[in-house]
Subunit: 479 residues, 2 copies
C-alpha cells in the first residue's frame, strides 16, 4: 500500500493497515509528520509560500498548537489517545471570567466585560421578559396552566429572578474585582446589571457578535469538556509514527499519480530534486483537494472537476510568549477564550502550565477574511497588530510582558494552502462531487477530513482513514 501524506489520515491509514497485516509506506512532502496537526516550539522553523521564514523563539517547555486546538470527548481522536497511550487533559473552551470586548456595538463597546456578567444578564432579562409575557397571557395558546407554572419557576431559578420575577444584581454575574466575598465583615459587592438595551446592542450585525460567541459554547463540537494531549497536539502524530513500522519518506513531493493495469504508479521528487517512482497495489491519497487538483494524474475528467469543488477556508493563529502569566495573576483567568469583534477574533489562554511563571497564549485565532487580513501582514506586523488589539483588552502588560511570537497563515502554508475546505451548497450529499470522491478511482482511494461531515476536526481525518481502510480491506479480501 502506498499512502500519500503523513497527516492524521495518512498515519491512521498506515496504523490500521499494518494492524491488518499490510505492508505500507508513506510519501510525505514535509520534513515532519502531522500535516496540519503541528505544534510550534523553540526552533520550529517554517517558510511560508510568500518566502517569509519564521523560527520559533519560545522558551523550552512552551509551545503553541498551530493547527487543531481541542478535542471533544465524543470524537474518535480520544479513542486513539487511549490506544496510543497519549495522556490528555482538559482544554478550557469556556471560562466564566474570560472577557468579551466589542467595538462599535453601543454603550458597552471598548470595555472588557466578563462572560459571566454578560451571560447572567442575558439569561436574566430573557427570563424576566418571558415571565412577564406569560403572566400577561401572551402565550396562553402555547402553554397550559401547569406549563406556565413550571416554566416561570424554571425562569426564576435559572434567570435568578426575584419572587416578583424581576432581574437584578446577583452573584452569578460576579463580584466587583477586589470585593469578592471573604472572611469577616466582607460579604462582597456586586454591580448592577448592564442595561438591557446596552446588552443587546452587543448583538448588532457583526460577524462575531455576542450571540455568535454564546452559541459557540453550546455547540455539539465545542461544549465542555474539551481535551488536548499533555505536551502538545503533535503528541498524536508522534505517537502514530512510533506505532507504525513501515517507512515514511519525508521531503518527497508527489508529481504524478497514475492508475496502471494492476495497481498504482506514483512519481515524486525528493529533497535533492531527484524524481523517482513507486508502484503499489493500492494508493490512499490524503493530499488536500486544493493541492491534489494540480498534481498530474490519469484520473477521469469528472474526478478532476470534483476535486476542484471544495473551497479552501483560511484560518490563522499567533502564539505570544509572555514573561508573566498576567491573565492568571491579574485577571484570574485560567484557560478559556476572550472573544472580540476585532480581527484578532479571540485570545486563547493556555490550558496547561497553570501557575507557572511564563506562558504562551494564542494572541489571535482568526478565520476567513480576518485570517486573510492578518496573514497578508509580515510576521512582525502581525505581532504588533495582535499586541495592539490585545492591549485593548489586557492593558499595557500585554506590551511590557511580551517576549516573542510565532504565527501561521494556513492559506500561505506550503502543502496545505488552507486550514480546511468548505463544500458549497448541494455539493455534499447523495450524487454530489463529495459522494463521487468517496469512491475509489481505479486503485486510488481519497481520504481526509474533507471527505467527512466533521471537516476541520482530527476526528474527520481518523474516521476517513478508517472508512477507506475498511473499503480497501473488503476489496482485497473479495479479490
Amino acid at each position: 500500500m502506498l499512502i500519500l501524506g503523513a497527516g492524521i489520515a495518512g498515519l491512521t491509514a498506515m496504523y490500521e493497515l499494518e494492524k491488518a497485516g499490510y505492508h505500507c509506506q508513506i510519501l510525505e512532502a514535509r520534513q515532519r509528520p502531522g500535516g496540519r496537526n503541528w505544534s510550534a516550539r523553540r526552533g520550529t522553523s517554517e517558510t511560508s509560500l510568500d518566502g517569509t521564514t519564521q523560527t520559533c523563539q519560545f522558551d523550552p517547555g512552551l509551545y503553541m498548537n498551530v493547527g487543531p486546538t481541542r478535542i471533544p470527548q465524543h470524537h474518535t481522536t480520544i479513542d486513539y489517545c487511549r490506544a496510543l497511550k497519549i495522556p490528555i487533559h482538559v482544554f478550557n473552551n469556556q471560562n466564566a471570567d474570560a472577557y468579551y470586548y466589542f467595538e462599535e456595538a453601543g454603550p458597552l463597546s471598548n470595555q472588557r466585560l466578563r462572560h459571566r456578567a454578560v451571560q447572567a444578564d442575558a439569561r436574566g432579562y430573557i427570563s424576566e421578559l418571558l415571565a412577564k409575557a406569560v403572566n400577561q397571557g401572551a402565550l396562553n395558546q402555547e402553554l397550559s396552566t401547569s406549563d406556565k407554572e413550571r416554566l416561570i419557576d424554571f425562569l426564576r431559578t435559572t434567570g435568578v429572578l426575584t419572587a416578583q420575577n424581576k432581574y437584578g444584581e446577583n452573584p452569578d454575574r460576579g463580584y466587583r474585582r477586589g470585593n469578592e466575598p471573604v472572611a469577616g465583615d466582607r460579604p462582597g459587592i456586586i454591580d448592577a446589571p448592564y442595561k438591557l438595551s446596552d446588552l443587546f446592542a452587543l448583538n448588532d450585525k457583526h460577524t462575531f457578535n455576542l450571540g455568535h460567541w454564546i452559541a459557540f459554547e453550546h455547540e455539539w463540537d465545542q461544549a465542555m469538556p474539551m481535551f488536548e494531549p499533555d505536551g502538545g497536539m503533535d503528541r498524536i502524530p508522534m505517537a502514530l509514527v512510533n506505532a507504525i513500522t513501515g517507512p515514511i519518506h519525508y521531503g518527497t513531493e508527489v508529481t504524478r499519480i497514475e492508475n496502471t493495469a494492476h495497481g498504482v504508479r506514483v512519481s515524486y521528487r525528493d529533497q535533492h530534486e531527484n524524481t523517482s517512482q513507486l508502484e503499489a497495489d493500492y494508493c490512499i491519497c490524503t493530499i488536500p483537494p486544493q493541492i491534489l487538483k494540480r498534481i498530474p494524474n490519469n484520473f477521469p475528467v469528472q474526478v478532476q472537476s470534483d476535486l476542484a469543488v471544495p473551497v479552501p477556508v483560511n484560518a490563522g493563529k499567533m502564539g505570544l510568549q509572555f514573561q508573566r502569566r498576567f491573565w492568571e495573576l491579574d485577571d484570574r483567568i485560567f484557560g478559556g477564550i476572550s472573544m472580540t469583534n476585532m480581527d484578532i477574533t479571540q485570545i486563547l489562554y493556555p490550558s496547561h502550565g497553570y501557575l507557572e511563571q511564563k506562558g504562551a497564549l494564542i494572541g489571535y485565532y482568526a478565520f476567513d477574511i480576518q485570517a486573510d487580513q492578518l496573514g497578508a501582514l509580515k510576521p512582525k506586523e502581525r505581532e504588533q497588530h495582535a499586541i495592539t488589539q490585545g492591549s485593548k483588552i489586557h492593558g499595557t502588560v500585554y506590551r511590557t510582558a511580551f517576549e516573542s511570537s510565532f504565527s501561521n497563515d494556513w492559506r500561505k502554508t506550503r502543502y496545505s494552502e488552507g486550514a480546511w475546505v468548505d463544500w458549497p451548497a448541494h455539493t455534499q450529499g447523495p450524487n454530489s462531487p463529495y459522494a463521487r470522491l468517496l469512491q475509489p478511482v481505479g486503485q486510488v482511494y481519497f481520504a481526509g477530513d474533507h471527505l467527512t461531515y466533521t471537516i476541520a476536526w482530527q476526528h474527520g481525518a481518523f474516521e476517513a482513514a478508517r472508512k477507506v481502510v475498511m473499503d480497501l480491506h473488503k476489496r482485497v479480501v473479495a479479490s
Copy 2:
C-alpha cells in the same frame, strides 16, 4: 502562638504566622492534618461516631476527595497552590454529555437524558416563546424597535431557531448515539426535541429539579473552569505541613480553653489518655462551633451562646471503584456530574486518570435530608443503595464492574459533626452572633470557613486564617 486544629484554617494560620516570625504549635485531635480536607486511599481507615469502621480498599493510585471537591479559579486556594507548588488540573463541574435522571417528574421520568439535549431544548423553547411574544407586541412597553430586532436575532442564534423563529432538531442537542457525524455518507442523525410540556415537567416541585441543576452551572462559585490538585485534594494540607516548622501534636483533644491574665491556657488529652496543659500568648481556635460549644472554657456567656447559633449542615459522599471506566468507554463522559432527584443526588465522574483502566467515581454526594438518610445506613447498605440507584442511570455495568466503596457522613464524623454550618436568618451581618465571634475573646481568636461569607469552601478557611493572623499581628505590634 497556640493553634487549635490542623485543618486548612489552622495550618494556614501557622504558615502565615511563621512567615512573620512567630513561634507556633498546633493541637490536632485527629491523627492526620487537613480536617475536612481529606482524601481516602487504599488503607485509609475511619471509625464514625456510631462505632462503624471502614477501611478503604481502592487500588493503589485511586482515591476520592471526601471533603472539598473543587476550587474556583478566583479563590485564594489557587494562590496557595501556586505558593506551595501544588500542580492543579481542571475539575469538570459541567459536562454536556452527563445525564439528568428524574423520578416522578412527568413523561421524561425514569430515563437518562443528556445535559446537552435538555439544555438545548430549554434554551430553544424559551427563545421561541419569547420571540413569539415579542413579535406579537406583548413586550412593546419594555423594548424599543431596535431592542426587539437585536433580541430576536440573539434568540435565533443562541436558541438555534429557524428563520421563522421555530425551534426544532439541531446539533446542539446531540446526535443519536452511534449515529454521530463521521466519514463518507453519514452526516449523523438527530432526534426531535422533547415536548415542551414534558421538558418543563422536569422542573416540578422537587428539591433537586431541572432548574436547580441548570442554575448550578452558572453560579459564582461553580461556573467552569474549576480545579483540583493533581493527586488528591489533601495535597493542600500535606503541602502546608511540609511548609511549616513548628510542631503539630496529633491525637490531642482539647478539653478546656481559658484566658489567663496574660495569655491562654489550653488543656488537652493525648492518645494515651494523659491530660496536659499548654500556655501561650495567644490562641487561634479553628474548632468548628458545634464542637467548640461543648468544650469547657471561661469565655463570657454571650460567646458561649453565639457559638450555639450556627447550625451544622450535613453532607455525605461515597466513592465507588469500578474495574472499568464504563462512563468514558460506553457513555463518552469524561468527568462531570450526572444529576438526579434520587437521594444519591449526583454521580461525579473523576476528572483525573482519564483513559486509564480502572477508576473511582463519587457514587453519591448528598446534602441535608438526603445525606442524613444515606448516613443512617450502614456502609454496606449505603453501597447497595448507591449501586441500585446508580444502576438506574448506568445499567447493569454499575453492578458488574463494581469493586469496592468508601463512604463518609460528616455529621457522624468525629471532630467535625457536620460538613459546614448555616447561619440562620439575621445571625450573620452587623451586630450579629457572627459579627461578635469575629472579635477575639481575650487572647483567643476564632477562625474557620464558618466565619466567612464563603462557607463550605477552603477559600473561607484560608481567608479566615489570613484575617485573624492580620488582626493578631496588628495587636502584637501595637502592644
